[in-house]
Symmetry: C2
Subunit: 168 residues, 2 copies
């Protein structure tokens, strides 16, 4: 992106820009999750992260499919938002020694990631529909549905076990 | 935060840490919104941002109230997540010349901010309850409810007018 140019002229340009942003984010999350898996103590949480890593690898493929469907070369642009969210997660995790408290911090970090993806997919789906691409919207919806389910699962793990242990 | 120390020992420490993070974020958003108001063209969007600026100033005060209730001095810690989200919003906005497309980009940026706040308040409320502070949870819930309402309003403005105009 150029600071003094206007590279985004149409909603289609904006859609492609945002697609490159989420493509970068999904790849970044794929790289961040193994570390979160290794730090998690609660078995349910560890399994949840492992399942979501497999899903995230699939999200990358679905985003590539949308690039193909839309006739645009798959490419990333750096996404300072997901960089910041993951940097913050790393900072906090490195500051927590107690295992149950660390689990609570990891859940909070993962939910921040999920919410970022949820808002981006929500926007991309709305734009795809306006651009007459319900086919792209439908593929992106599959990713959104899995992000929402992952977020709900994290809430359930937090409420059923992790937070109580962390507060003990 | 020290990189090689463990400053966060308990869930209470983590709660206070997260409170400082959202305090920083709310202040940062208060500073970012006037620029978004000046860039917005759609009247409903401009009004929505103005209303949310007033709400955000109130959110800062409510977070200060929670610090007081919890017996901790109100303080910020830098939050790379909100910094990244706002940096990305500025980058995209500077790349869009067309007014309706810029409105669509501003809505997407604002919804990313809302989602970040929603996840943080959701976590803070859950932790406050576990820490035996339903009074703090109740104040934080008021902020969460307004963030959710602001997000829904943005979706409505996007769907009812802005996206259609941006796609035209």
């Amino acid at each position: 992106m150029g600071l003094f140019t206007s590279d985004i002229k149409t909603l289609d340009d904006l859609f492609v820009h945002q697609l490159k942003d989420i493509y970068y984010a999904e790849k970044r999350i794929t790289n961040a999750l193994p570390d979160m898996i290794s730090k998690a103590s609660n078995a349910q949480l560890k399994q949840g992260f492992e399942k979501h890593l497999a899903e995230t690898k699939n999200h990358v493929k679905r985003v590539e499919e949308v690039f193909r469907m839309h006739g645009v070369k798959a490419d990333t642009i750096q996404c300072p938002a997901i960089d910041g969210i993951i940097e913050e997660a790393d900072d906090v995790a490195s500051d927590v020694a107690d295992k149950p408290v660390l689990d609570a911090a990891l859940i909070a970090a993962a939910q921040a990631v999920e919410h970022y993806e949820m808002t981006r997919y929500g926007t991309l789906i709305a734009w795809a529909k306006k651009l007459g691409r319900p086919d792209c919207a439908s593929v992106l919806q599959q990713n959104l549905d899995e992000e929402k389910a992952a977020d709900q699962k994290l809430t359930q793990v937090a409420e059923s076990a992790v937070n109580q242990k962390a507060a003990a």
